[in-house]
Symmetry: C2
Subunit: 674 residues, 2 copies
């Protein structure tokens, strides 16, 4: 009798002998090869497709015979006829190994497939979500077996999928009898298993689930709640959306919300209700946009700053407003999604990333998870721009973090023509340094405002306001064109030589767009807008500078701009504005919404959750609120770009006009040009 | 240098050597001696009191010197001055071992103290509740320690009490910051730990908790919800109460509630709300009666039949109404108490005993836990009387169980003058066989109705109706006095020779009490009442007989009557009525509310929970609804006591008159007396 046939799986290289007649799926399981299956080998889910090799494989010392696998059987024929099987593919659960064979597992058949995410630090992520679908056939009850339906379902999952100790919420127990009977005892169980607690039944779907289960990755900011709907088989994003945090009516920044809670009996509870409503709305919008049944959204991952964290959880944030800023709880948490207002699958779970300290949140932890500063050779500064900015500075030796209360100006709030990033909002601005005439782009239109076709294209939305990236560019361009002086003062029409500078009380505004003739809006940058941006950018700069002091460095090798609109911030304009310390402009990159990306990574990978839970304990957090030098850095950073720092790297790129419009000193305007 | 001193603890006999200067509490911990402590050795809780021996202990070969323990220190002196220390007692955490010593741990200082419960089978129970109080001093937050309050509390519990992996619900996380600060970081944590899941913080109490934590043991019946409030240190019952199940408006028996759910959209949900409201009310009543803060009630244990089980959990019971009677879930469950309407401690847990089958509930499991048929040498029949009767028959070889739909007659419902057991209700009845004059006792009055002082004493409540035990005695006495014939017919005044038999339509009623002259009520047993009792007792008898068939026995060695009013049922009258198969009257005992007792046992002991979870899988359940012989037994049991069984054991005690009041056969009444 011949030896058992040898089977070699690629790309893993795992090999071994199995008895002739063993199905490929079974062989893969025995050899620890990562081959997906939802139906458990019944030939209906097609997740276990493999590509058997042909001919000689000298590397492996194997020659594969024509009939190394059993012929195509009725199940495969039927599947191919109805759904179509790619050439060369076989169903791993049907094809049986007859003689030595090399079998390739294509990426889409790998349960723990790798996903490559492009970012500042390109990283490979292995899909390893907490929720997976498992198809089972459940034994029907009869008079001789008095156990419950749930016990028989659990036994099936144990026997067919080795899932032991399953638990279920009442919401699911209330559904299982109907679903089991409606689907003739054949169901797909959505099982949540974080590897630490007993596995939990999230829901039952009749028959074989045709498609993936989904998850939500949510970045809960003070001003904006942004979310992605993600397919949990391969991590692709099916919808992204955002809405204003309904809490904004209780105060624009975090500290005003903490005060609201302190001054108003029941105020914290009101804000909790508001933010949970917002989360519920966002989930509905995302499901609707992606055309996905909300009941198939089985988990949500949430990142947020500590105040939002507490308010979302129903914890009064009052202690976060006073030293020593102790949070009620800081570790990662798993909750029922319904507890925080998410109306998704009946027993869906929510994973909340750990917070680092009372002022440094789970959003900052998510930035670290996404950008991996702890793996960088040279110190890298990461700035997640938002109403509360998360700032991280680190390298292989250590990682520092702080948060800085920038206020909502960068998100278009507190800006006279400010609005959130939506079609019609000005997102790019250029000002001719000679004529001081502006041109701009709005979201939803490809042309610049001075190009043919713009007016026609802009009719759809109108020109409605300025969003975060737009205001940053507008102020920086005004500084480059000499319309604003280093102290932030806007010159008069006479001083700057353009009628676009119009008086407003005792100050001036610069008109970007006057749509009033056509019934539209006047969009201008006011002196108040400049002041708001100055306060915001000073806070950001001071936080970054504080971390550099602590780290013991004077210059930066690399800066990553992140945040809800991180991808849209122009590095050059950020430097001109002095949002960040000086750095070679080509070494300033955008990482998009790094906090949101961190949330997506945690959603797709349990290992990533363990990683960040471990990592947060190694991050040194710097408390800006009590650091004496913070105030000093803040004041010096009020100038554009800075009062004392020469910004030598920036000077190699642009020359900023030396102007001053301060008339308080000698009673008249001065204008100097180099 | 001398050897380390030898310490011997009694009554455990545990012994060992410890370094001189070791506190007694510390020595006890090292030697695995069960010595209580809530404050963790800080000399404030006094739970660790011990009684050191004096002089020679020849049995142990030890002579205890006068100064074997260190002298009374300032902490003990202060405690003695303020709270008082019994003579000869020392605080185990303060007294240090200096030389060989024998130390007695009195029962009240044992954490796992034994409680002896008197019942049909006297049993010793060891206190081992899931929730215990732990006093801790928590490290205050400071700017250098960014962890959350909950993490520092958890660390304190880990370090001081070896409790690892603590979890907390949001409700508790929302409270901890306030409690910790209010109590200067010294708190008593109520920790729930069932030994299977991560321990859970139920609540925090400022400072040292002065007293025990509490639990509820609830027997959720179809007609009555009965509960005990129990101290979880020694298992004593501080209050017992009951109320009508508010679900009764949806149907008196279980099957009518199942139909209500089938016929009415949302009907199951309505019933769930009703029963949860009832549970909430009961908890409030019990806390109020015992004068206990509801926030200190940390766990509830619930037993109930399968339909109540499902309705309480929010599961539609429809499958329980049709073969194969599959429950949605049958295993024991742990829930948050708030989920089922119990407003007790913020994160209190509820343990629900396992159900045995679709018709044999957690109440039956509780009867088994309480009465331990599996340890009986001879077969014992246990009958838990209620609207749905739980019947268990077993011995060391095997245990059978069934339930039988007796209806609510035994609980005073469906009885014309029926009422629940409350002051003023007739609970005992005797009828003179010669004069056929009745005498009775009412709840709340010690005298019988024919005794001096009764009229005066009864004024407080009036004579308001008949409760369950009263109607059983009334019918049995009517049968013994020849007022009712074996078929259940009440004779006319002429036939039975007393004007107390009054006509009512075409049938007769027997007047127990006529209070109408004094503005009170006429309390009579009507023909309809007799019929209702006959139906109820036939169902009970038939269920018991079915189990005997299955067990293969014709006679019973021992019967235990249990149920909400089990302790009040007279064994002789139960036999005369034929509620149970014939048995020597002295071998019929009352066990009180065995289901409720089982709930109390599970509340006080985690080991008991494991025991019954294991035991239920070894109980054979008999399905009365589909057993062909059930109907046969039911019909034969309609007669009083029985149509065919001679009840020979009963005949040795009483002679039942041979009478017949059936006038249908020959057109006239017959009366025969032996």
């Amino acid at each position: 009798m011949a030896d058992d046939p040898l089977v070699i799986f690629t790309p893993s290289g795992k090999r071994g002998r199995v008895p002739a007649g063993t199905p490929v799926l079974e062989a893969a399981r025995r050899l620890g090869v990562d081959l997906d299956s939802v139906c458990g080998g019944r030939g209906i889910c097609s997740k276990c497709q493999v590509a058997p090799g042909k001919g000689a494989f000298s590397k492996h010392g194997v020659t594969v015979a024509e009939d190394a696998l059993s012929g195509i059987n009725a199940v495969e024929e039927r599947y191919d006829r109805i759904r179509g099987l790619k050439p060369g593919r076989r169903l791993g659960c049907q094809a049986q190994i007859q003689s030595d064979v090399v079998i390739d597992v294509p990426p889409e058949s790998q349960l723990h497939r790798q996903v490559i995410r492009k970012s500042a630090t390109e990283r490979v992520m292995v899909m390893d979500p907490a929720v997976r679908p498992f198809y089972v056939e459940v034994v029907e009850p009869d008079l001789d077996d008095p156990t419950g339906d749930f016990q028989r379902l659990s036994a099936a999952l144990d026997e067919q999928w080795q899932i032991t100790g399953l638990r279920a919420d009442l919401e699911v127990l209330a559904r299982i009898q109907t679903v089991l009977r409606k689907s003739a005892w054949k169901v797909t169980a959505l099982v949540w298993d974080n590897g630490l607690e007993p596995p939990r039944l999230i829901d039952l779907v009749p028959g074989l689930l045709d498609g993936p289960v989904y998850g939500l990755a949510i970045d809960l900011g003070s001003t904006t709640i942004a979310g992605h709907l993600v397919a949990l088989d391969d991590g692709r994003v099916l919808a992204s959306s955002g809405l204003m945090n309904p809490q904004i009516r209780f105060g624009e920044d975090l500290m005003s919300r903490v005060s609201y809670s302190m001054m108003n009996e029941g105020g914290a509870a009101e804000m909790t209700t508001a933010v949970r409503d917002g989360l519920g709305q966002l989930a509905a919008v995302l499901a609707d946009e992606a055309g996905v049944d909300p009941a198939l959204i089985a988990e949500a991952v949430i990142v947020c700053n500590p105040v939002m964290h507490h308010l979302m959880l129903g914890i009064d944030p009052v202690e976060l407003g006073q030293a020593p800023f102790a949070p009620a709880t800081s570790d990662a948490m798993t909750l029922r999604a319904a507890e925080i207002g998410l109306q998704i699958a009946p027993a869906a779970r929510t994973y909340v990333l750990p917070i680092i300290a009372g002022h440094v949140g789970a959003d900052c932890a998510a930035v670290v998870l996404s950008e991996q500063p702890q793996k960088s050779e040279a110190p890298v500064l990461m700035v997640d721009v938002g109403t509360n900015a998360e700032i991280v500075l680190g390298d292989k030796t250590r990682v520092l973090a702080c948060s800085s209360p920038t206020g909502p100006a960068f998100e278009g709030a507190q800006i006279s023509s400010g609005q959130r990033a939506a079609p019609g909002a000005i997102e790019r601005v250029r000002i001719d340094p000679v004529t001081r005439e502006p041109r701009f782009r709005i979201i939803g239109v490809d042309e610049w405002s001075n190009e043919p076709g713009f007016d026609e294209a802009a009719k759809a939305t109108g020109i409605t306001g300025i969003c975060g990236s737009g205001i940053i560019e507008a102020v920086a361009e005004m500084r480059m064109a000499g319309i604003v002086d280093p102290s932030g003062l806007i010159g008069s029409a006479e001083q700057v030589g353009t009628p676009r500078s119009i008086p407003q009380g005792r100050t001036h505004s610069y008109v970007l767009h006057d749509g009033t003739d056509a019934g539209g809006t006047l969009i201008a940058v006011t002196q108040g807008d400049i002041r708001a941006i100055q306060l915001a950018k000073s806070a950001l700069f001071a936080g970054a500078r504080l971390l550099m002091d602590e780290f013991g460095i004077e210059t930066l090798d690399r800066v990553v701009l992140a945040g809800a609109f991180g991808a849209h911030i122009s590095p050059l304009h950020a430097l001109v504005l002095g949002m960040i310390p000086d750095c070679a402009v080509e070494r300033v990159t955008s990482a998009g919404n790094a906090a949101g990306t961190g949330a997506r990574i945690a959603l797709c990978s349990r290992a990533a959750r363990r990683e960040i839970e471990d990592q947060v304990h190694r991050i040194t957090r710097i408390e800006t609120a009590i650091a004496p030098r913070f105030q000093e850095h803040f004041v010096a950073a009020n100038a554009i770009p800075h009062a004392t720092d020469p910004f030598t790297e920036l000077q190699t790129q642009v020359t900023l006009p030396v102007v001053s419009y301060n008339t308080a000193g000698d009673g008249r305007a001065r204008r100097r040009r180099k």
